[in-house]
Each structure stands twice: as C-alpha cells, then as structure tokens.
C-alpha cells in the first residue's frame, strides 16, 4: 500500500465520518422539531380538549380528572339550554348571531369603499386616514363605555340591540378596513384593464374579473369581523339586558340550581357549543384567516 492510497482511504473515512455526523445532526434536529411541535400541539389543544371532555361528563363526575372521556352523557347540553335557572343560552345564541351578523354586514358595506380608496387611489392625507383607522382599532373599549352608558340611559336605549351593535362597529369597522386594504393591495388589478382592452365594459370587468378576485378577501374579512363581534364581552356585559345579552355574557353569568354551586359541566357544554362553529370555520379557512390576521402587521 502506498502512502498516497493510505491518505486517500483516510480522507474518505474522514469524509464518511463527517457525513455521518451531519446526518446524525440532521436527524437530531428533525427529532427536536417533532418534540417541540408536539409540545406546541398539546399546549394549544389540551385546555380546549378538557372543555369538550368535561362537557360530555356526568354532573356527578365534574371533578373526574382522568384524561380520557369517562361517564359520557349529553345531559349537559340540555342543561345549557335549560331556562329554569334564569339562563337564556338559546336566546343568547340567536342574539350573538344577530348582533354579529348586523355588525359584520354594516362594517363590510361601509368598509369596502374605504379599503378600495386606501388600496387603489393616490390622495393627500392617506397616511393620516390609515393611522386614524389603525388607532381606532386599538382603542380601549372602556373609554367608550362610560359616555355610551350615560347616553343610552338618557335616550332609553339600554339593553336594546342597537346599543350593542353601534359600539361593536367601533372596533369591527377599523379591523375590516385595514384587513381588506391589505388584501386589495395584493390583487392583480391589471386584469381589470386587460379585460377592458379585450372588450369588456367597465361593468362586465367589475363583475367578471374583479368580483371573483375580491370575493375570497371579502369573505375572509367577514369571518374575522364576525369572530371579533362574537367574542366581544366588555360592552355587552354593561349595555345588554337579559333579553338581548350575547353568548359571552350568558356564559359568564351562567347560574346553577344552587347559587353556591357552579354548574361547570353545563358551562363547558355551552362553551363547546359557542366555540365549535368558530373552530370549524377557522380550520376550514385556515390559510385565508392567517393571511387576514397578519395582513396588517407585515407586507
């Protein structure tokens, strides 16, 4: 064996060793990723899972701490809708849908024009308007509640639907405008002009080109708007009545048969009912929603 070949063999061995180490490192990194991902998954889902498991557990086993579902029953869902202890959960669900629906519709109807202007037109004071709208979305609810409380008391609007809808617009409308603005900014508007060149009228170009492109953006914004209205608690807790209260207030005030006993299983059932539609919506439109959520912050 010559020294040259010995050197070559040694070199190859070293290279192999290096490659092996790199592969090991790669494997180890991969394993760490999976472990971390599992931790994130458990951290995010475990409490929500606990809510669902408790919702299906018999009242007598409220504090059962076995991780898997035990003593399964549907009674809690019936209790959640039971009105004999003064809870009006069914009504509250309808109220939330109604309030959320009106707030979303109004915000989209008004906001779509503003978003178009902010995304497409050049005008003086654009930064100012955008700053104002962003500032409005960060506005603390308590700063509104005091004057509105007095105003609505004076004009007899306390506990009415409009007393809940109008303040909600104060934070849903800004959210709608800036989410749609960033969606509109990224739309291929050149297509409108191409359609015009190809002989479409302006109306046709709008209907056949712009509308189908804008629809997903508007739909996503609608979901985000609806969720934020659905989740509102502060204003509703002060300005609603028993008849108009939304689900968040109904759940917060959920009463049991005995005043000193909290009906956890029924509350968890109510919470599950309130949450499941949102979670399904969010999971189905995951990509779009994440894009909408982060639209304001990056780009």
């Amino acid at each position: 064996m010559t020294t040259a070949t010995a050197d070559a063999t040694a070199l190859r061995a070293r290279q192999d060793k290096g490659r092996q180490a790199a592969q090991n490192r790669e494997k180890w990194a991969q394993a760490r990723t999976y472990i971390s991902a599992a931790v994130v998954l458990v951290w995010c889902l475990a409490p929500a899972y606990w809510m669902v498991v408790t919702a299906f557990r018999e009242v007598g086993f409220t504090y059962d701490t076995s991780i898997l579902p035990t003593h399964i029953t549907l009674d809690n869902f019936a209790t959640a809708f039971d009105t004999s202890f003064g809870n009006r959960f069914g009504q509250a669900l309808l109220n939330s849908v109604f309030i959320g629906g009106v707030v979303t519709a109004v915000s989209l109807l008004i906001g779509v024009f503003a978003a178009y202007a902010l995304a497409r037109l050049n005008f003086k004071g654009k930064f100012l308007v955008l700053g104002f709208i962003l500032g409005a979305s960060m506005f603390p609810g308590v700063a509104l509640i005091t004057p509105l409380f007095q105003l609505f008391t004076n004009i007899g609007w306390m506990g009415t639907y409009q007393a809940l809808i109008i303040p909600n617009i104060s934070f849903v409308l800004p959210l709608t405008v800036y989410t749609m603005t960033s969606f509109f900014r990224e739309m291929p508007w050149e297509l409108e002009e191409s359609a015009r060149v190809d002989g479409c009228t302006q109306g046709q170009a709008f209907r056949k080109v712009i509308m189908p492109l804008a629809a997903p953006a508007i739909f996503t914004t609608a979901i985000l708007a609806f969720i934020s209205s659905w989740n509102e608690f502060l204003i509703a807790s002060q300005l609603s009545s028993d008849a108009t209260q939304p689900v968040t207030v109904a759940i917060a005030n959920f009463a049991g048969a005995q005043p000193n006993q909290i009906p956890y299983t029924a509350i968890m059932a109510a919470g599950t009912i309130v949450t499941i539609p949102l979670v399904i919506l969010v999971l189905v439109f995951q990509r779009k929603i994440v894009a909408g959520l982060t639209a304001g912050a990056v780009k």
């Binding site: 991902a37 005091t146 409380f149 994440v290």
Partner: protein
C-alpha cells in the same frame, strides 16, 4: 378629519394609469390626482363619519363628563352632593386618591373605596402587560420558529394554534376557572392544593397563564409571517460563510423580523393594557387583579363622571404607551400595514 381628504392636488406624479387628456401636460396629471382625491373622500366618508360617531363623539363626551361632578350620595362620606362643574376634582380623586370629605375639602380615600384603588390598579395593569407580553413574545417566537420549519404535520400545528385564538375570551376565562378550581385538573396534575383564585399571587398567575395561552398564537402567527418574509438564500449564504445557528438567529433572523415583531408587540401591549374579560370573569378583580378597565366598570354604577375621568386617564395612558412605541422603539405600524404602496417593494 374629512377636510384632510380634500381634493388638493399632490405635486408628486403618480405612477401608472391613463393620463387625462385635458389641458396641457402636467395639469392633466394634477387633475387626475385631484379627481382621485375627490373619489377617495367620497369612498372614505362613510367610514370616517361612522368612526366619528362611534369613537370621536364618545371621547369628547367623556372628556366633557370628566369635568362634571356626580350628583348623588358620595360613596366616601354618605352625604348627598349636587352635580355641576367639578373642575379637576374627578382627576384629583383618582390620581391623588383624594375623596371629598364631609363638610368640604378632601381627605385621602379610605381603603376599600374605588378612589383608593387607582394606583394599585395601574400597577396591576402594567404588571400583567409586562409579564404577559414578555412571555407571549418569547413563546410566540419559539412557536413561530417551529412552524417555519418544514416537517410532516406542520399544517396540523398551524391549525392547532388557531384554536385558542378562536375561543371567545369569556369562554377561555370560564374554562381556566374550571381548570384552576380547587378540585380541578391543574391542582391534580401538579399535585398541589392551591386556592388559585383565593389569594394574590396564584390569582395573578392564573390570569397570566390563561392570557398567555389565549394570545400567544396570535403573536406566533404575526412573527411567523415576518419570518416567512426572509429569503432562504440569506440563511444559505450565512451557512456557507460558517455562521453558527446562534449567529444566524442573532444577526439575520432578529434584525429582519424586527419590524413585524415590533408591530406584534405593540398590538399585544395595547391589547393587554385594556385587559378586562379575563380577570373580570376569572377572579372578579379580587386579590389585586383589578385592572384599570375593571376599575372603570366598577365605577360606572357609582357615578358616570368619575368613571369618565378614569376612562380618560386610561385612554391617555394607552395613547402614551403607543406613542412611545411608535416614536422611540420604531414600531412603524402605518408603514408596516402597507400604506407605502406598490412603489416601495
């Protein structure tokens, strides 16, 4: 506000579009922008008017109210006081914790009255804000780094982080109230017997844990969006140059993700400063978990005007924090949200 949108011609030429063939060159361009300005004011008018009604009017009304005296029985003295101009007495009530004394003048608010809670509520609010936003930033960054990697099941993780975000805060509060119940799962898992909502520090940590659980995903998604803006080639180049993982994180990831991170931190900070739902439902504000928002709500039924003064103070505090962020920490929200237009990228 609407006057700012007036059809004033802008000097800088706009890019693209068909020039209006009216008048000599340049004037047509000005006209075009002027007409866009007019268009814009029409399109923006409904939003601006709506926001003026639901936000600007209440702010002004709250400021006016805050200088009025509350009519009715004084909580501290039990004597009837008439309404009328109050000067700055409502602000003195909160900031100096001075309540009106029987027979005129003021005394230090007795413990237990709302007036005596202003500074402790402020301290609690800032404590919650600093602790939750710090934890959420660190955890959110970690989650974002994981979600940015490629692995099987990544979309599952990305979907899972949306679950806490989608659950209404009121439900979250009830859920954690149950988890932290004396016989609940938290005590069982950690083999402790803590009355979580029964004393100061456990109650505070209960609120913090619940808040971190609920809002870290939002933070993680914002940071992830920032991470995804960094081109992979930058990392490749750094690897070739022999940068270690820590160096790549410190010298590439952090600086490049900083704009998105600052905006995420700003959003979360402003949100945490107005924290209400979680402590209100989880602890009822007991054991020193009363935030400024809760104090305002507790005050409303004892007197609108004093509540208006407190809500104005809260608003000013939040405004100042936002100002400091934007001015000194470089959280450029407006620019980040894409107002720069197409020319910039």
């Amino acid at each position: 506000m609407a006057t700012e949108l007036g059809p004033t011609p802008v000097k800088a030429p706009a890019s693209g579009g068909t020039p209006v063939h009216r008048g000599p060159k340049g004037v047509g361009e000005d006209n075009r922008i002027a007409s866009q300005g007019r268009w814009a004011s029409w399109l923006l008018a409904p939003t601006i008017i709506a926001l003026a009604v639901v936000i600007v009017y209440p702010i002004i009304s709250a400021i006016v109210m805050s200088f009025q005296k509350d009519a009715g029985l004084d909580a501290a003295t039990g004597l009837f006081t008439a309404g009328g101009p109050a000067g700055i007495s409502n602000y003195v009530n909160w900031l100096a914790q001075q309540c009106s004394a029987p027979g005129g003048g003021t005394v230090a608010c007795p413990p237990g009255t709302l007036g005596g809670q202003f500074w402790s509520a402020t301290a609690t609010t800032f404590f919650f804000t600093v602790v939750t936003v710090t934890l959420e930033t660190v955890l959110g960054f970690w989650m974002a780094m994981i979600m940015a990697r490629t692995f099987r099941g990544r979309s599952l993780v990305r979907a899972a982080v949306l679950v806490p975000w989608a659950i209404p805060t009121a439900v979250t509060a009830k859920l954690w109230f149950f988890i932290f119940a004396f016989e609940g799962i938290a005590n069982k898992l950690f083999n402790t017997s803590i009355l979580w909502t029964g004393s100061e520090w456990p109650a505070k940590w209960a609120v913090i844990i619940a808040d971190v659980w609920k809002t870290t995903p939002f933070m993680a998604l914002l940071i992830l969006a920032g991470l995804q803006m960094i081109p992979a080639e930058v990392y490749e180049a750094a690897k070739v140059d022999g940068a270690s993982a820590w160096q790549r994180f410190r010298l590439i990831t952090l600086p490049l993700v900083k704009p998105a991170l600052m905006v995420a931190i700003l959003f979360r900070t402003l949100d945490a400063l107005r924290m209400f739902d979680l402590p209100y439902i989880l602890t009822g504000g007991a054991n020193n978990t009363t935030t400024l928002s809760i104090l305002v709500i507790n005050q409303i039924r004892q007197g609108f005007n004093a509540a208006a003064a407190l809500s104005t103070i809260t608003f000013i505090i939040i405004f100042l924090v936002a100002f400091i962020f934007v001015r000194f920490l470089g959280a450029n929200v407006v620019e980040q949200s894409g107002a720069t237009g197409k020319g910039k990228k």
